[in-house]
């Protein structure tokens, strides 16, 4: 484990802990951006700068702003701080979360990727990414595009006022 990875992991963990511990929803969303930043740094560290910056562009700006708007529009007031953060379901939640985490760890250790990591000679270039997207992965790309278009049209129809 290199020093860079340790720093990045510390940043991600700080953000994640803040996300689950902080009391105000907006603070939680802001610490979520720290997690996204950490993940982007991890991508850049793993020689995938395009992916890292695209993550910042899409998640940190667009998705976070979307979440913030949702939070502000659906909630009239902030939840007051008197309420205890430990609800009755917290033990069950802890068990479920712990088992999911254990399952993930187990799966990742079993995966062939986790052994035998090879260094790339050069960072994945944007050109090769684009070529792959246009040849090998053109069908998934088109399917995703169709799905996004359908979602967009659906959102417009939901938001559209009834003309009659």
């Amino acid at each position: 484990m290199s020093l860079t990875f340790a720093i990045i992991a510390a940043i991600v963990l700080t953000g994640a802990i803040g996300l689950s511990v902080l009391r105000k929803t907006v603070h939680c969303v802001l610490s979520l951006t720290i997690v996204f930043f950490g993940l982007a740094m991890l991508y850049i560290r793993l020689d995938a700068p395009f992916l890292g910056f695209a993550l910042v562009l899409i998640y940190v700006s667009a998705v976070t702003i979307l979440i913030l708007f949702t939070v502000l529009l659906t909630r009239n007031r902030e939840i007051e701080t008197d309420v205890s953060p430990y609800s009755r379901g917290s033990i069950a939640g802890l068990i479920v979360g712990g088992s999911v985490f254990a399952g993930l760890i187990w799966m990742i250790y079993r995966a062939p990727l986790s052994r035998g990591i090879t260094e790339l000679e050069s960072p994945a270039s944007v050109k090769s990414l684009g070529e792959r997207l246009m040849t090998e992965y053109v069908l998934p790309l088109e399917v995703i595009a169709l799905l996004l278009t359908a979602a967009m049209i659906g959102a417009v129809i939901v938001a559209m006022k009834d003309p009659g």
Binding site: K24, V26, H27, L30, T33, P49, F50, F53, A54, V56, L57, V60, S61, A62, T64, I65, L68, L72, P123, S125, V126, K127
Partner: protein, 391 residues
């Protein structure tokens, strides 16, 4: 000049022990960028006030220093010595972090702009990223988050309204801006700003602005840049007569100065990108003028665009919110998509038959699209505003 600057940097870096050399190298790249653009900020504020004064038939600042040139020094001193007021109900941490984040992102985007090239091929660029353009927009889009933080943490309805307006505007204009930039990426086949500048070397007829798609994309980009940096005629996020100063209302002293600085630095970043993408960056207009150093050409073009922005600010009235969003989504976005297709066609046609045929085939669709989107859209929705609640 480029060789001189690069060798000064090498000499200074060599003074440091080997462990610190990468760090020292980056610091030495950062310092001039910081100094030059902060200086540009100071000069632009005074120039802008003077130019606006002349447009409005008055003198503008002319008391501090020769011809009022030391006005920014006086302003800066005043800002530093002002009391830093934080509202009682404000969220102190977020309130503090917002201007810091905004100023940081405004400075970070300059790290991928190439300012010049030495004869041996080395570039005068802080970091030559392969995905420089994505970096620029990724970091630039963090400003939205900072604006939201400022608006939300102030606990003031005007601040929140201003932040909401600013974010809606930034998101709306980011789409046409990215699409208009994509035309250049399509032609140069690279996301690295150094490579994009490289494709425009050797005279002004190679500049991207002198193509049918490039000219239109340049204008779209400038419009979107005005909107992104909240300048007139797109300054409704901080409209003084409606919501006082928008998300900056609860900031005083040097924090307010930081917002002001970030706004101008954002404008400079957009201008630098426009120069780099469309106006050939640091390349001279004709190759015979190559003895003049690249940074001088770069800043020459930069000043021309800044002067254009000041002129626009003094001339045009503010748009309404609905006009603003209509312009972005109904005119600029479809126009940018058309330009993308035209640029692809230009690439094919001018490669096989030469640029004359490219102009012949590519300019009609651009003009047609402009007429149909501009005039056609205005015919249906435009016209005088109807005041439903008054009548």
């Amino acid at each position: 000049m480029e060789v001189l600057l690069l060798s000064i940097k090498e000499q200074l870096v060599a003074l440091f022990p080997a462990v610190l050399q990468p760090l020292a190298g980056h610091l030495l790249s950062i310092t001039p960028v910081l100094g030059v653009f902060a200086g540009c900020f100071a000069l632009t504020t005074v120039l802008e006030r003077k130019a606006l004064g002349r447009i409005q038939n008055r003198f503008g600042p002319n008391r501090v220093g020769p011809a009022g040139l030391l006005q920014p020094v006086a302003d800066g001193l005043k800002m530093i010595f002002k009391e830093d007021i934080v509202p009682l109900k404000a969220d102190r941490t977020v309130h503090f972090l917002a201007p810091v984040l905004l100023a940081t992102t405004a400075l970070l985007v300059f790290s991928v702009i190439p300012f010049g090239q030495a004869p041996d091929g080395r570039h005068l660029v802080p970091v030559d990223l392969e995905v420089g353009l994505i970096f620029f927009f990724a970091v630039g889009s963090l400003a939205e988050l900072a604006v939201f933080m400022a608006g939300w943490s102030s606990r003031n309805k005007y601040a929140m309204l201003g932040a909401m307006r600013a974010i809606a505007q930034m998101i709306s204009y980011e789409a046409p801006m990215l699409l208009s930039v994509l035309t250049v990426v399509l032609i140069s086949g690279s996301l690295s700003l150094v490579d994009i500048v490289g494709t425009q070397a050797g005279g002004f007829w190679h500049w991207h602005v002198l193509t049918p798609w490039g000219a239109a994309a340049f204008l779209l980009f400038l419009t979107a840049a005005l909107a992104e940096s909240n300048r007139s005629p797109f300054d409704i996020p901080e409209a003084e007569s409606e919501i006082i100063a928008g998300h900056m209302i609860e900031y005083s002293g040097f924090k307010y100065a930081l917002f002001f600085l970030a706004e101008y630095l954002g404008l400079f970043a957009m201008t630098s990108l426009a120069v780099t993408l469309f106006l050939g960056g640091f390349h001279p207009p004709i190759p015979q003028l190559a003895f003049v150093p690249g940074p001088i050409w770069f800043f020459g073009k930069f000043v021309v665009i800044i002067a254009f922005f000041i002129w626009i600010r003094g001339t045009l009235p503010r748009l309404r919110m609905d006009q603003l969003l209509q312009l972005a989504w109904k005119f600029m976005l479809p126009m940018a998509v058309v330009l993308l297709i035209v640029a692809a066609a230009w690439h094919r046609i001018s490669l096989t038959w030469g640029p004359v045929f490219g102009w012949l085939f590519c300019s009609p669709p651009v003009i047609m699209a402009y007429l149909m989107l501009g005039r056609g859209g205005a015919g249906k929705k435009g016209g005088p505003r109807v005041y439903r609640y008054v009548n």
